[in-house]
């Protein structure tokens, strides 16, 4: 990314992308891919599913740039699409598991599939998140991982703030109970 382009706001990059500037699209990918992929990866617990969700998110975002309103932050708009893509992937996976998988251990193996090369802390987080449903994971990761405000989370998930707070609290209790050494504060 050149210096001039790096100094541009997301809105300016979006304006260029709308005008057909291919490098502006690439810049928007470079800027936000890391946060999108980590959110999808931890939410879905599967690298391949996460990559699919993020790819579809960007393709839909760029196909729908005309619908992007500049008063909204591009990142929030992107995450709004990503949340819905992840929900679709999660729902599809649940249906597939209900149809094809009955062995509980096989389900657990699938939940962390493709994680070769992850660090211990990431494995700890994956294990602590295990057993949380998608709604609770989604709220917890947006709040704690992405440090979003509840109002912003509500706008992009369509869930009321009070419900989000409850989900975050329950998810945190779930994670704390499974995090090594967390209960003793050390």
């Amino acid at each position: 990314m050149g210096d001039a382009r790096a100094a541009m706001t997301d809105a300016e990059c979006v304006a260029l992308a709308r005008a057909g500037d291919e490098s502006a699209r690439a810049d928007l990918v470079v800027r936000h891919h890391a946060s999108c992929i980590r959110f999808a990866r931890h939410l879905l617990g599967d690298l391949a599913d996460a990559e699919d969700a993020v790819q579809e998110t960007y393709m839909r975002a760029f196909a729908g740039l005309a619908r992007y309103e500049e008063r909204d932050a591009f990142r929030a708009w992107l995450f709004q699409i990503l949340v819905h893509r992840c929900r679709s992937v999660g729902a599809r996976r649940t249906r597939q598991r209900e149809r094809f998988v009955s062995d509980h251990q096989a389900v657990e193996r699938a939940a962390v599939s493709g994680d070769e090369g992850l660090q211990d802390a990431q494995r700890t987080l994956a294990a602590a998140l295990d057993g949380l449903d998608l709604d609770h994971r989604e709220a917890f990761l947006l709040k704690v991982g992405e440090e979003m405000e509840y109002e912003e989370m509500s706008r992009l998930t369509g869930v009321q703030v009070s419900a989000l707070k409850m989900r975050v609290k329950r998810a945190r209790d779930h994670v704390r109970a499974r995090w090594p050494g967390a209960s003793d504060g050390g």
Binding site: I37, L47, E51, A121, Q122, W179
Partner: protein, 217 residues
């Protein structure tokens, strides 16, 4: 301000002790929350070795995406003619509209050009459809859908003259179509009378209409 003696504390010292313990417990719990959040965040933000290749694959896919090409490069692209159904439908409407425009050069236009253009291109593969929306306060209402490439300017609705009703009649290719209303060029609103809705991937829903040519459609 000087501390005043707490009447409740004086009356029941055990109660105040319990309250103090509760506050202490809450503070400890809050500290634990901060600690666990920090640990989670630190682990969450570690990159995965798979992230970089995933980004490269996305950039490669975007580079090969025919929908972003403009001008002569689009026409020279080898896969430019691998049209998706939405483009076929859009092209179909465009051809019909173009033919109608030529016709309009020799015949007077009606009050609503967009409606006249599409209706005049009646075809056995299409069927008439009437969209109706009650939209109090709206000054412009359009129908957008896969049949007009989601272009709010191509199919404006007509105000009924009195009341809040907006109406548009046109012919659509038989099949299943996603659509939505656009109010004042900005607000996307699904059809409240449509029985079906599909996730639009932008946090809302599109309406779904099945055009099968049955009487009454």
């Amino acid at each position: 301000m000087a501390d005043r003696p707490d009447p409740e504390r004086a009356a029941n010292p055990h109660s105040s002790e319990r309250a103090a313990n509760a506050h202490s417990s809450e503070r400890a719990s809050a500290r634990e929350e901060v600690v666990i959040d920090e640990r989670v965040r630190a682990a969450y933000r570690l990159p995965s070795p798979a992230d970089e290749p995933a980004r490269a694959r996305l950039l490669a896919r975007l580079a090969a995406d025919p929908s972003k090409r403009t001008g002569w490069r689009w026409w020279l692209a080898a896969d430019a003619f691998r049209a998706r159904p939405i483009w076929v439908a859009a092209a179909f409407v465009a051809v019909l509209a173009g033919g109608a425009w030529l016709g309009s050069r020799v015949t007077p236009r009606t009050a609503n050009d967009a409606v006249a253009i599409i209706q005049s291109a009646a075809d056995p593969t299409t069927a008439p459809v009437t969209f109706v929306l009650r939209a109090p306060g709206a000054t412009r209402v359009s129908v957008v859908g896969d049949f007009n490439n989601w272009d709010a300017s191509s199919t404006p609705m007509e105000h009924s003259g009195s009341g809040d009703l907006w109406v548009l009649s046109l012919r659509l290719p038989r099949g299943v179509h996603l659509y939505s209303f656009v109010l004042d060029g900005a607000e996307w609103r699904p059809d409240p009378s449509a029985p079906l809705a599909a996730d639009d991937s932008f946090g809302g829903h599109n309406s779904v209409i099945v055009v099968d040519g049955a009487p009454g459609l």
